[in-house]
């Protein structure tokens, strides 16, 4: 059974004009959100998108937009108090970036 999160909230979009149909988004997506049809990437399962941003990072023509980040409530609460970007887990003392 495929677990899905809230309906119709994921921020992912593909600019079909820019898309060259290389298929890297399909290859990196861990939730099978894309399908390549007629040399264009199509979003076939938007609710499965967890906004990890792998597709956007790897799209060579910048055709994908998504507000990527960690879908983690502790991180969202943390960002509320520190007024910084959502990040989860304890901070590593050797590095001010945080990790989960």
């Amino acid at each position: 059974m495929k677990l899905k999160y809230l309906k119709n909230v994921a921020s992912i979009k593909v600019d079909t004009e820019k898309c060259i149909g290389c298929g890297i988004c399909f290859d990196v997506c861990p939730h099978d959100v894309f399908k390549i049809e007629n040399k264009k990437a199509l979003i076939t399962d938007k609710d499965a998108c967890m906004e990890c941003g792998a597709c956007k990072m790897n799209c060579p023509v910048d055709a994908i937009s998504v507000n990527s980040g960690v879908g983690c409530a502790a991180a969202v609460y943390g960002s509320f108090f520190t007024k910084s970007e959502a990040c989860c887990g304890p901070k590593d003392s050797s590095n001010d970036k945080c990790c989960c």
Binding site: K7, P30, E51, G71
Partner: protein, 343 residues
């Protein structure tokens, strides 16, 4: 092979000479020590500092034709990879991810384009292998831009399977993934993987709850009697349900929202636990305290899940938080008044 020196990790079984330097050869068998310390790490408060040195490692009799696998310097991650490479000749390029696993580090960018490029250059990878291919775990794609790595280093990134256990089939398949290798699972064992750490992190909360229960109970009954358990058990039970039962039952709990999943099972717990020595006041404050508590723990589990989006979590947090605060505030007032025998 060179003589073993004393301050090297036990899993390095020798060194391979290349033109530029000696590269550590790594065992593909996990020792009892590896397995035991892996377990201890899972039970520790923070799973920090379980890391190995970044750089290039050799598996088997790797040569300039052997594949290159990129991974993180979290030792549990590295152990899983080297175990799966048993019987294969390969190179492992370990990135410095500050001891964090591939996916989490990729989300932060520490497993990323810049670090990967830097390691390729620092290890002189182009002198070690004559091909121009590196295999990066698919979940690393969140931090790596394959086309930029290619532009900067000449190396072509192939995204390997999500899980290391599929690597052998992936290699046999000529570096092509099946659909199953691309998709992340969230099976029972995955859902409970972080439970030990979560339980350890609940210990302080448990002590506080125990202390508060003892005090309130003493105020109400003037003795430290068995009635204590009717105060203490609902809360300890709620912590357990939130951190163990919710993850275990995640797919069958109703609703897509994690806060609602938690609230649903929280409501059931609050009603069930109120049936012991039932009265309406108790039912109401149990519902007002236990439901948001379990709901909150469930909402925080989004951070461990593999399918929740930031946009969705922000929506949940925004809606649920004021309800949590209000409910717990009113519930606490009721409970305290009840302890003083005012209502």
């Amino acid at each position: 092979m060179h003589k073993i020196n004393n301050n090297k990790p036990h899993w390095i079984i020798g060194f391979k000479d290349t033109d530029s330097k000696k590269i550590p050869v790594v065992s593909t068998k996990l020792s009892t020590k590896d397995i035991l310390s892996g377990w201890i790490v899972r039970w520790r408060f923070y799973r920090m500092n379980y890391k190995i040195k970044e750089g290039l490692y050799c598996i088997g009799e790797a040569d300039n034709n052997s594949p290159v696998f990129v991974t993180a310097n979290y030792k549990l991650t590295f152990d899983r990879l080297r175990k799966e490479l048993h019987g294969i000749n390969a190179w492992i390029l370990v990135l410095d991810t500050k001891g964090v696993n591939v996916w989490c580090a990729a989300g932060k960018g520490t497993f990323g384009t810049i670090e990967l490029t830097k390691r390729i250059r620092e290890t002189n990878l182009e002198k070690i292998v004559k091909h121009k291919n590196i295999i990066v775990p698919q979940l690393g794609a969140t931090g790596v831009s394959a086309h930029i790595v290619k532009k900067l280093t000449g190396f072509k990134v192939t995204y390997g399977p999500v899980e290391a256990k599929d690597i052998k089939v992936f290699l046999k398949n000529n570096f092509v993934k099946t659909d199953e290798m691309r998709i992340i699972n969230f099976k029972l064992k995955d859902r409970l993987a972080v439970t030990p750490t979560e339980i350890v992190m609940l210990i302080p909360a448990t002590i506080i709850i125990l202390a508060v229960s003892v005090i309130l109970n003493f105020i109400k009954y003037r003795i430290f009697g068995p009635a204590l358990f009717t105060d203490f058990i609902p809360f300890i039970g709620a912590l357990f349900i939130g951190s163990v039962i919710v993850p275990a039952l995640l797919p069958i709990l109703p609703f897509r929202s994690f806060a609602l999943k938690g609230a649903a099972i929280g409501l059931i717990w609050a009603v069930l636990i109120s049936l012991i020595d039932f009265n309406y006041i108790k039912l109401i404050f149990n519902i007002m305290l236990l439901t948001p508590l379990i709901s909150f723990i469930a909402l925080n589990y989004t951070g461990n899940s593999t399918f929740t989006s930031l946009t969705g979590v922000k929506i949940e947090v925004k809606i649920a938080t004021p309800i949590f605060i209000l409910s717990i505030l009113l519930g606490s007032i009721l409970k305290i008044l009840n302890s003083f025998n005012i209502i």
